[in-house]
Each structure stands twice: as structure tokens, then as C-alpha cells.
Amino acid sequence: MSSMMILLVLKCLSQIIFYCICFAFQMQTVTIIPGDGIGPEISTSVIKIFEAAKVPIQWEERNVTAIKGPGGKWMIPPEAKESMDKSKIGLKGPLKTPIAAGHPSMNLLLRKTFDLYANVRPCVSIEGYKTPYTDVDLVTIRENTEGEYSGIEHVIVDGVVQSIKLITEEASRRIAEYAFEYARNNQRNSVTAVHKANIMRMSDGLFLRKCREVAENFKDVKFTEMYLDTVCLNMVQDPTQFDVLVMPNLYGDILSDLCAGLIGGLGVTPSGNIGANGVAIFESVHGTAPDIAGMDLANPTALLLSAVMMLRHMGLHGHAKKIETACFDTIRDKKVLTKDLGGNSKCSEFTAEICRRVQDLD
């Protein structure tokens, strides 16, 4: 009898210890960069919703105004860099780049600082937010460091300008590998490389070759190639034929915005940037909307869905599903919607509604 009691007590103790360890490990730190304009209010919304969902995350708020470092080079504040290097995961609101500020865009600075080489945008039709396109479910993966955005331009003679598009073996291989790994980890069936190798034979040809090589190691994922113009043509007629798309910088920029337009615009599209050394920054890609900043009118959906993407990246699938369902249910019911979604509720009301649903789902 007493041995049985001891065994029972030991069992309970071990379970308690187990949960404590789990809890300690699960409380992850995430760097949050609220941003400018409507950034702070939508960040607050996301934090509130995460609290309601009891997500085991500790937020560390940081600012990323450009400062001039030693040697005259523009950089992000060292506290921000330190926080990101430690936490590895970041959530970012919209950042403004003042014209003629003398420094490059903040997004560019962040990209260079953390070598954010892959921009991932899942585009899924939102039930309840009607667009002419239904059943969209694709992911655009865009190479984010080189290509047409290398920033290398020259005036050869007066009136003749050349812009250099740079394609390297290393960057192409890296993005292709990420695309196939993403497809495998997220149960996607196929990866399509988008290119214009008929015209840009060497550069896009190199990109295509690397994709083909990487595809050899991922036989479980189907690999196809398609010209950029054919993708555009087919995308607006039947977007359901696409799954994961991988492409160089410019095509990725155009196509990811095209796909965002299919599901309703940048106000409802999530986005993630994957960097080297395990860093990942998730962000809303819309602007700072200075005309409605501070008026409690903003729509936090884009940042919220990006945060959900972040949860999935961190392995917190249960919480991700809960928050996503609450958000989609709120939009589908159409009772509490922000102005851009067709309603006339405030940002705080929309947030409160999602919080309520999250708690109901518990």
C-alpha cells in the first residue's frame, strides 16, 4: 500500500516537473517592432489577441530608426540587432522611409543586416472577404537579396543608363532549397520556378539550373518551370493551378503583389522574411497609412495573419489555428469589420471581437 502511494506521488511529481520544464522552454521571446503610422495600434491589437489566446510568448519591443554607425555607415540601433540575434524571431509593423532622408529604406537595412534572403507570402482566399477570385491557395517565395534589385546602376553616357541584374549560384541555390523545404514542411505538392530564360538566357538560366539541381533532392515534391508571362496570364484566369512559386527578386515582387490583389490586397496579406542563421522576421506589407494613424481605424488583419505565420514557424500550430479561425470567423460574420473590410467598426472593437472568439474557442 505505501509503496503504491510512493509510486503515485513520484508519478505526480515527475509530471509536475515535466510541465514546468515544458513551460520554461515554451516561453519564447519575440522581438516586436511596432513601426510607424498605424504600426503601434495594430501591434497593440496583436499583443492583446495573443494574450487572450494565452500564447507562450514574451514580447520585446524595439525601435529601428536608422542611425549612423562608426565609419559613417547607416545601421539599425544596436539594441534592436542584439534583441533579434538573441530571439531569432521578429514581428514588424509598417516602416516609413522619409524621402531625401539620406539613408536607404529601413526595410532594405533590415534585409541587409539579417541577410533576409527569402520573402514568403502565402495567399489564401479569405472566406467572407469577397473578391472576384475564390479558392486561391498558393505561396510565393521570392529571392530577396539580389536580382534586379541589386542597386547597381550607372549612367554610361548622358542619356544611356544601365541597371545590372545580378544572379549568383549561391543565392539561387539557397532560395530553391528553402522553397522545396517549405513545400515539404507545409505539405505542398509542387514547386514552380518562374523565369524568363528565353530572353535572359544566362541569368535566369542559372537560376533555373539551380532549381533543377535542388529538385533532384526533393523527389517527393513535383517541380515545374513556367515563363513569367505565362504565369501572369494563367494566374488571373485560374489561380487554383498554382501551389508554391519560387522566383528571382523582381518577378517575386510583381507576382506576390499580384497574388495579394487576388485575395483582397495588402491589408489582409501576411508576409515572412527568412534570414540566414535562423532569423525570421514576419511583417505586414501595407503602408503606414499616416492619414488614419492614431484614429483607431486601422485593420490589424495583415499583421495578425503574419503573426499567425510566425506561430507556425515556431511550431505553435495549436495557437496559430485558434487565432486564425477566430480572425476568419469574425470576417465571415461581417458584424464587426473595419472600414477597409466594408464595415464601420473601430480597430479596438474588431480586436475585442477576435479576442472574444479566441476565448470561446478555448
Binding site: T131, P132, Y133, E148, Y149, G151, E153, H154, V155, D158, G159, V160, V161, Q162, S163, I164, K165, L166, I167, T168, E169, E170, H195, K196, A197, N198, I199, M200, R201, M202, S203, D204, G205, L206, L208, L228, D229, T230, C232, L233, N234, M235, V236, Q237, L250, D253, I254, L255, S256, D257, L258, A260, G261, L262, G264, G265, L266
Partner: protein, 391 residues
């Protein structure tokens, strides 16, 4: 083709009783036989007298999926001769495309199918289509995208003219490998060509009574290249105060096109963005089988489908949609000044599209290519004879 160049073009007489026709020695016997056997009864659109002499028209066969407008033009007695030039995309020598360019220089006007480019071949094998465009300096690619009656689409009331710079930009084909694994591709933007295309766009807008021209660019990132293009557009716009000029970044443009395409009027842009935007617009109005395109230079004009597809997967199956090529040939007739023929054929095509509902597979129907063309011919016949007073 040597003989062809030197032969004088005799005026063609088609009278009610029958006629004699002067036939150049080299010509394809088939194409002339019908002139002798057909009288005005079997050819209801026959002319009484055609003074000017026949226009010579060059046809380039690339990897065309169908060439039924040939039969249609003969049926309508369009006073145009076809000189057929074949270009085989599988050959590596550039002789055939150079012959085509020579022939177009001779004739001035061409109707062209797309020539497939095998992008797995080395860079020395350049795109034949691009070679043709740059050799003839066809600097303006024009595509008029309109919602067509009878075609189901997600968006309605689209009416956009896309004017795309056709010779430089990203299509300069200037690439090199600096060290193994590092490739540079040059995008060239010049002031001369940017001014030229902007001038063309504004002139077209004015001629067609359009209110607004939008320049599409990415000057926030490519500050020098697209910055120069935008600057040139602004300069030209200053000379057209009656036309509103604005600009939009290309990624925002594609997003706006899929949500609210009705906001666009005339759009002008460099080469690659033109490729993207024209394909998006073609998709919006119903697909590649419907929209014709035109390439204009100072001295030459080449007409083709707007999205330049070879349609390899549906070739020789009699399911291709001939509308785009037929409408391209109507654009060609307009260019040649044969407006009555152009509008006659165009009306028949649109009537077939909307009233008879004989749609091909790409439009969700089950019609065959030949059925569509037959139907268009019937519509042409219904229109009644064209008399010389109407010409």
C-alpha cells in the same frame, strides 16, 4: 522571292463576266487559281474595279497554331497577297529569320506567329522573335485590351491600351558571367527610346480621344534606369496638357489590375513590365486566344497575337481559338488603309463571339477552329456585297 521583288504589280480586274489576271511567274498556283474560277456570284464581296494594285502582304509562319485567316481573307476577296516565309524554330542558324526580316523590309507589313525559343540552348542562340523586333526597330508594341461581348470574365468594362517599349530594357540580351556562378544581365534604358515611346503613347492617346496616360515603372528601386524613363514621360506629357499623366509602380499596378482594372486608360512602360502587364490584361479579358497585338516601327509593322504564345500543346488539334490572329489581321488591314474590309471582318468576328456562342475550349465551349471560321464567313456573307462606292 527575287522575282517577286522586281515584278510590277498589275491592277486586278474582277468583272461580272469573268476576268483575266496577270499572274507573276513565281507565284503559288493555288493562290491564283481561285481568282480565275471565282466570279462575282461565288465571291459575293468581289470588287468591280480595283485601281491601286494589290497590296503585298507578308506572312511569317513561325510555329503558328492555325492559319485560317488566310482562307477567310481569300473568301472576303481582300486585295492583299500573301508571301509566306517559314521560320523553323528548331534550327540553330539565323538564316531563316534573316530571310524573314529581308522579306518584311521589302513588303513593309507582316502577320506573324510566335517562334518558339528553346531556353536550354546556349546564349548564342538568341530569341528569333526578339531578333526580328530589334532588326526592324519595331519600337512600339501596342495592345488594345477590351472586354468582348459574349465572353465570360470576372471583370467587366475593361478598355485599356497598353503601349510597351519593344526594343531595349531587360530584353537587351547583354549578359556575361564575371566569375563562375556570378552572372550579370544588363537592362538598358536610353533617353532617345524612352522619349520615342512616350511620344508615341501620347500621340496615340490624343488620336484615339483618350483622357489619361499612366506610366508604369519601378523608379523607387531602379532610380537611374526607370527614373530616366519616368523623367522622359513627364517631359513629353508637358507637351500634351489636354491629357492627364500619372504614374504607378509596377507591383501596385498588377494589384490594381486584378481588383479594379476599369481605372486604367492608356498605359506606357518599359519592355519587361509591358510583358507582365499585357499578359495580366489579356487574362482579364478572356485569355490569349482573344487579344491581337501590333508592333510598330518607323517603316514597318508586324501584327501578331498580343501574348505571343506558340500554343504548342494544342497545335494541329483544331481546337485553337483563331480570334486573336484574325483580329490581328484586321489591325493589319486598318494599317494598310483597307478599313472597310477590316471592319467587315471584325464585325463578323464579334458577332460570332457574342451571338452564335460558338466558343472554343479556351472560352469554355466546345467549338472547333474550323467551325468558328465557317461561322465568321457566314456572318461576312450575311453582310451583303461591298460595292466600289463603299471602298
Amino acid at each position: 522571292s527575287e522575282n517577286c521583288a522586281n515584278q510590277p504589280h498589275a491592277p486586278l480586274l474582277l468583272t461580272k463576266t469573268g476576268q483575266t489576271v496577270r499572274r507573276p511567274a513565281h507565284s503559288d498556283p493555288d493562290s491564283w487559281r481561285w481568282d480565275r474560277t471565282r466570279t462575282s456570284e461565288s465571291c459575293p464581296r468581289a470588287l468591280q474595279v480595283w485601281e491601286k494594285g494589290r497590296e503585298k502582304r507578308l506572312l511569317v509562319l513561325g510555329d503558328l497554331i492555325c492559319l485560317t485567316d488566310w482562307g477567310l481573307h481569300r473568301f472576303c476577296c481582300v486585295p492583299v497577297d500573301f508571301e509566306v516565309v517559314n521560320v523553323d524554330s528548331s534550327l540553330t542558324s539565323e538564316d531563316e529569320i534573316n530571310n524573314a526580316v529581308t522579306a518584311i523590309r521589302r513588303n513593309g507589313v507582316a502577320l506573324k506567329g510566335n517562334i518558339e525559343t528553346n531556353h536550354n540552348l546556349p546564349p548564342s542562340h538568341k530569341s528569333r522573335n526578339n531578333l526580328l523586333r530589334t532588326s526592324l526597330d519595331l519600337y512600339a508594341n501596342v495592345m488594345h485590351c477590351q472586354t468582348l461581348p459574349g465572353v465570360q470574365t470576372r471583370h467587366k468594362d475593361i478598355d485599356i491600351i497598353i503601349i510597351r517599349e519593344n526594343t531595349e530594357g531587360e530584353y537587351s540580351s547583354l549578359e556575361h558571367e564575371n566569375v563562375p556562378g556570378v552572372v550579370e544581365s544588363l537592362k538598358i534604358i536610353t533617353r532617345v527610346n524612352s522619349l520615342r515611346i512616350a511620344e508615341y503613347a501620347f500621340r496615340q492617346a490624343r488620336e484615339k480621344g483618350r483622357r489619361r496616360v499612366t506610366a508604369v515603372h519601378k523608379a523607387n528601386i531602379m532610380k537611374l534606369g526607370d527614373g530616366l524613363f519616368l523623367q522622359c514621360c513627364k517631359e513629353v506629357a508637358a507637351g500634351y496638357p489636354d491629357i492627364t499623366f500619372d504614374n504607378m509602380i509596377v507591383d501596385n499596378t498588377t494589384m490594381q489590375l486584378v481588383s479594379k482594372p476599369q481605372q486604367f486608360d492608356v498605359m506606357v512602360m518599359p519592355n519587361l513590365y509591358g510583358n507582365v502587364v499585357s499578359n495580366v490584361c489579356a487574362g482579364l479579358v478572356g485569355g490569349p486566344g482573344l487579344v491581337p497585338g501590333a508592333n510598330y516601327g518607323k517603316d514597318y509593322a508586324v501584327f501578331e497575337t498580343a501574348t505571343r504564345n506558340t500554343g504548342k500543346s494544342i497545335a494541329n488539334k483544331n481546337i485553337a481559338n483563331p480570334t486573336a490572329t484574325l483580329l490581328a489581321s484586321c489591325l493589319m488591314l486598318d494599317h494598310l488603309g483597307l478599313h472597310d474590309y477590316a471592319s467587315m471582318i471584325r464585325k463578323a468576328i464579334l458577332r460570332t463571339l457574342s451571338e452564335t456562342r460558338l466558343h472554343t475550349a479556351d472560352l469554355g465551349g466546345q467549338g472547333t477552329t474550323s467551325e468558328v471560321v465557317q461561322s465568321i464567313m457566314k456572318e461576312v456573307q450575311k453582310g451583303g456585297p461591298l460595292t466600289s462606292e463603299k471602298i
